[in-house]
Assembly symmetry: C2
Homo-oligomer: 383 residues x 2
Amino acid sequence: MPNLHTALPVVGMVGGGQLARMTQQAAIALGVEFKVLADSAIDSAALVTANTAVGDYRDFDDLAAFAASCDVVTFDHEHVPLAHIEKLASSGVLVYPGTHALPYVQDKIQMRERLEALGAPIPRWRPVETVEQVNDFAATHGWPVIAKAASGGYDGKGVWLLNTSDDASSLLAHREFRLFVEENVAFTRELAALVARTPSGKSVAWPVVETVQRDGICVEVIAPALALDDAKAKAAQQLALRIADELDVVGLLAVELFDAAAGVLVNELAMRPHNSGHWTINGSVTSQFEQHLRAVLDWPLGDTAATAPVTVMANVLGGDDGNQGLANRLPEVLVDPDLHVHLYGKAVRPGRKIGHVNICGDDVESLRARAGRAADRLRGGQL
Amino acid sequence: MPNLHTALPVVGMVGGGQLARMTQQAAIALGVEFKVLADSAIDSAALVTANTAVGDYRDFDDLAAFAASCDVVTFDHEHVPLAHIEKLASSGVLVYPGTHALPYVQDKIQMRERLEALGAPIPRWRPVETVEQVNDFAATHGWPVIAKAASGGYDGKGVWLLNTSDDASSLLAHREFRLFVEENVAFTRELAALVARTPSGKSVAWPVVETVQRDGICVEVIAPALALDDAKAKAAQQLALRIADELDVVGLLAVELFDAAAGVLVNELAMRPHNSGHWTINGSVTSQFEQHLRAVLDWPLGDTAATAPVTVMANVLGGDDGNQGLANRLPEVLVDPDLHVHLYGKAVRPGRKIGHVNICGDDVESLRARAGRAADRLRGGQL
């Protein structure tokens, strides 16, 4: 039901992480009421929204009670049980992305089967249950191979590099989840194509960006990707738009890509605002967070054009000296007057993603240096 | 006291209007906790902040209880009794702007006396208590004259155009407040110079903007002001920076100016984020709301450069068909993909300021038309 005081719709997001937190900033501008179902009252988004519902996204009753106060329900993460979402949807709740789209991000094996069926370019892969299957795969595609858990992975978790049959043995001995292996693609860099799509099927694509990973964690995004030829950029955008259409995604879709000699290959999908799109808050006419709201409300989508020649995003990871260290250093990095700091209100733990910085301008190397320096300093390094 | 979970400072704003609402968006990014002391739980900012304190800003105990949970206290409006602020400050609360600066916005007669003493260019004026004093002033400076209430005015309220001695008689017969009169300056347009200043005395100025008023209400802002010669722009910025210094303003200072043949004249001052600075949310590297937070925290100030050749802001006023009318029309105006809508969560009443739109680009006339059309349509006119 729309908000009593404004008649504008109420959007509910399941999950109170930083994606919900930044969606709240966009909701404030649009005047729509934004509610989160958070695990606790001190979740990142719960700290900055009114009327936070605290509950368990794995509990159907908590989800249903939350949904009852919203016009549309969407997600900050992919972990809500599909059966619950199906039940909500069949009781008439608008849930975006929907139950036909979500399986492909909840289960990476289903994702690959579907992408393959669509003829989308992906690394060669196969589900594995035995060491022999891994060995067979490696015999054809060579060692090392990448093993991934079908579900539950993020930020490098749930991904293993297997150099030998022994590596495969020890992984398979301890696994408690379905696994698959992928060829270790020879890529030159990673890209991401971000698109948004409405229930009516309208969609838009942002400029393709370059993502830089370290230890499986995205540390930097350069928007747009450097020296990406137009044909490849266009192909990546068209691929992401087509996947959004075919999977009937509503809201944001991030397509993580390998930039390989033969063209781009899909690495992973995410159906929500995504780290590779944080640059849009300061570097695009429409931020991914506002766009996600517009999309799930079936409103017209905003312009995805970049507002500066280059925007660089650097993730801020927690340092060793806790919250007080971060608080002490924040004013120091603001000495760079062009730096946009985005902190998530999270308790600082070593290596935890606690924020990001954006900076827009012309000279990519200087922007990368400034963003990187600020992120390092916030973590506790020297300025 | 800093936030328990993040160690970052807590900024409290007295007043829960749209200025506080938009400051919340900036606070979310910086990671500082932002609290409002609101008149009610459905105030514009209360709708979008956690832990809103509901209380009366005219009540010292409410103010003191609120201030006890904040590291710094600042204001969404100028109506907090000065005696209360003095008492807070003398008990050790950091209050910005402070008690030496605030009298000049709480009392327009004191403002003019002080500006005169500084040698700042202002229209000729005098306090008046009798019709004879108005007649004397008009005999020297000509009819009509402008009469203003020394305090409490906003958006054209508390301002009267007196064409004759009879007008003066009827105003003075009914007045319940101190008055002054001003010459009716022959200006070509109105400008505004927005600056920010820290407790350490660092300050920055945004590009000077043109403000367009209708019925005493600002309806449009063009940033930067069109065809403003560099010397005049520089003079306006320097004037605003000098006033901020001399009055020891901390936070935002908006200087409303008349653009007259002989140069700029100060019309009014506001010591808070200001309608003339709403364009900065989308059109400047640093928004006035983030800058206000940085200033009151004594953090380094952000870059005030424009991010586009022109940004146009148009205020959205309430139409005749209430909340539902606005809600119905919002998606229609979003068809312009470059439009940034900012709604305040306020109940729609005819003529009430309920939001604004920003649009950035190159062609000022086209941007004015698009912003104006969107604002008109949100009010209920034809698109």
